[in-house]
C-alpha cells in the first residue's frame, strides 16, 4: 500500500497548560516571523488564570462546518479531517470564523484571510508540558 503519514492535532490534557503560549509563538514562527500575527492556535484563560486555560485549536472535523459555509469553496476537505485553504479563492468574508464551533479559526488582519491550522505539529513540539499531541494517520494515496 502506498501512502503518507499526516497528522492531526488534539488537546491531550488542558489541565497541564500553564498559559505560556509557546505554541502560539511557534505557530507564528512557521513563516519566519516573530510575534503572534499568524498563529492558528490560541490560548486564553478560562476567566482569569486562576481557573486555568482554554486551548483553541482546530480538531480537524471529519465534516467541517467552516467548509460548508465558504461561499467560494476556498476551504477544501483535508484527508482525515480538517480543511485546506485555497488562498486564491478566498475573498476574506470571515464566514468560516463564524461557523467554527470551537472558535479555532483566526484572522490574519494584514492579509484579510483566515488562518487555518495545517496540523504540522510545530505547536506540539514547543509545548513543554504535553498539553497537545499529534496523532499520525495514514492516508491512502492509491
Amino acid at each position: 500500500m502506498s501512502g503518507r503519514v499526516i497528522g492531526r492535532i488534539s488537546v491531550r490534557d488542558v489541565n497541564l497548560c500553564v498559559g505560556c503560549q509557546c505554541c502560539m509563538f511557534a505557530c507564528s514562527r512557521r513563516f519566519g516571523d516573530a510575534g503572534l500575527g499568524r498563529s492558528a492556535i490560541h490560548v486564553g484563560s478560562a476567566g482569569g488564570v486562576e481557573r486555568g486555560f482554554i486551548v483553541y485549536v482546530c480538531r480537524g472535523c471529519p465534516d467541517p462546518p467552516c467548509m460548508k459555509v465558504c461561499p467560494t469553496d476556498a476551504l477544501v476537505k483535508r484527508p482525515h479531517g480538517g480543511v485546506i485553504l485555497e488562498r486564491s479563492r478566498c475573498i476574506g468574508c470571515g464566514s468560516c470564523v463564524e461557523a467554527c464551533t470551537l472558535r479555532a479559526i483566526f484572522w490574519d488582519r494584514e492579509k484579510n484571510k483566515p488562518i487555518i491550522c495545517v496540523h504540522c505539529g510545530i505547536c506540539v513540539s514547543h509545548c513543554p508540558y504535553g498539553v497537545l499531541k499529534i496523532e499520525p494517520t495514514m492516508v491512502d494515496e492509491r
Binding site: 500553564v18 503560549q21 509557546c22 514562527r29 519566519g32 516571523d33 484563560s45 514547543h126
Partner: protein, 585 residues
Amino acid sequence: MIDGDPLSRVLYIDLTSRDFWVEDKTELFEKYLGGSGVASNLLLQESPIGVDPLSPENPIIITVGPLCGVFPLASKAVAMFKSPLTGNLGESHAGGRSAVAIRLAGYGAIVVRGASNIPVYLSIQGERVYFRDASAIWGMGSSYTVGRVIREREPGSGLRSIMRIGRAGERLISYACVITETYRHFGRLGLGAVFGSKRLKAIMIAGDRRLKVKDPKSYREAYREIFESVTKSPSMKKYHELGTSMNVNVLNESKSLPTRNLLKTSFEGGEEISGENFAANYLGRRVACSHCPVSCIHLAALREPYTSDPYFYKTSMISYDYELIYALGSMLEVSDPRSLLRLLDEVEIQGLDAISTGVTLAWATEAQEKGLVSENEVGMRLRWGDVENYLEAIRMIVKQPNDFYKALARGVEYASTIYGGKDFALAYGGNEMPGYHTGPACHLGFITGARHSHLDSAGYSIDQRTYTSKIEQPIEETVNQLFEEESWRQILSSLVICYFARGNYTPDFIAKALTILGYNLNQEELRRLGGEILKLKNRFKFREGFKIENLRIPRRILETETPHGRLDEDKLRRGIKLYYSKILE
C-alpha cells in the same frame, strides 16, 4: 533596529486633557535598546526636577524591549516613575502578559501624564486609546473583582494585560502595587499609589501583531538554541520545580533567613512554610508569563469553610514566592502555611507590596513590644505569629484610621522617624529590606543598588558563594562584583529579559539575538552601555536629592550575626564609598 519595527513608537496618554498620540523615538531605542535604558532617559526628560511623586506631573513610564515577543523569557515590562515611598527613583518590573501585550500592540513604551478628575481606566486597542469611566469599580473591596469586571468588559482574551490597582493604590499607600494578570506585580516602590494619584484604576492593553526579523533562518536557529537552553538547563530547574520558595529551606539552614524582624536568622517554623511543604500540600496550579516555558508562578489552593453555613467552602488560588514567605512568614513568625496564605491573599486583595507590608508589620510589632506605640494607637496587641491581628492591621494600613496607621502607610523609614525605633527599621534608601541576611555583599547591594532591591546586584549570591567556599574576600572585590552585576543587569532589563534567565542569555547569545533584530553591538559595547544606563539611573537619583552620606545602615543588621559573622559597619561604609566612586566616575 529593523526598519518599521513598532518598538520605536512611544504612546503618550494625557489623563488631564484626555488626549493621546504616538511619537517615534527610533534614535532612543537604537541607542538604549528599550526597558530600563529607554525608561531612564524618558524619566529624566518627563519628570520635572523635584516633582511631587503624587502630583499629576509625575509621569508613569512603561517600556519593553526588542527581544520581547521574539524570544522566550524576554517578557518583562519595566515601569519607571518617581517613587512615593523613597521620594526618588521608582523602578519596578512585572511579568504576566504585560510586556508581550504592549510590544504586540505595536509600542515600545507608554507614557502616562497628568491626572483625571474622575476615576478612569484605559483600554488600549491597536491605534486607539479609550478612556473608560471607572467610578463603579473605584473603592471596590477586592482587586480580584476589579480584574474580573474589566476582563468581562474588554476584548482580547489571552492577548491582553490588565494592569490594575487595589484599594491600597487608590488610598495612596506609599507601597501600593500594580497587579497584572492577578499574580504578577509591579510590586515595589509604590507605582500603585502613582496610579491612584492620577485616578487611574487600570490600563488594559491587547495586541497580536506580527514582528519582522532580519533573517528568518538565523532567527529560527537562535530561537531553537535559547528554547533548548531554557527548557533543559539545570539553572532553570529551581524556578521550574519548587519555584523561588525553594530558598526558604536553603536560607533557613544557613542561618540567613531574616526572622522576627531580624532578631533571628533561622525560624523553627521554616520547614512548615518551605517551598517543599507548599508544593507537597498546597500547590494547586502552575502558570507562566507569556512566552515563557518555565512556569515559575506557583499558586496554592486554599480551601476554607464558611463559618456562617455548614457545607459551604471557598477555594482560593493564592500565589506564593520566596520574598512573600519571608516578609509575611518568617519576619512575623507565622509558621502555619494556611494562615500565611491568608496574609498573602489579603495583600493581593488590597494591592500592596508584600515585602514592604511584611517588614512594616514586623517593625510595628517590635515597636509595640518596646512600648514605642500604645495599644490605643495600634488598636490591638500585635504579636509574633498572630495572624488574625496581622490581617486586621493590613486592612487598617489601607484604611488609615489614625496617625499611627497613616505613618505605617508610608513605610518603616517614615514611621520610625515619627515613633522612634530606627535601629530596627529595616529599610535602605527608604525601601523595605528584602529577605536575605547572607553577609556583607547582600546588604552592600541593598544600600548601593539603584532601587535598593535584592534584584539590583544580587549580593546574596556572592555571599552564598564565598560562604560555601569559606572565602572572606576583600570588600574591594565585592564592590567590583556588585558593580559588574548591576551594570550587566541594565542590559538584561533593557532587553526585558527575566533575571531568572540570566545564565541562559549569555553576552554572546544576546549579541547574536540583537543582530537578528537589526542591532549591531558587540559584547564590549553592551557592557559599556550597561554601565552607562546604571549611571543614568543614578543621575536621576542625585538630581532628586539623593545623598551618599544620608544612607542609613539599620543598626539591627550589624547586631544579628550572618553566616559570615557580624557585619563591620566601617567595612560597609568603605564599600559604599568605593561603589559610588565607580558610579560617579
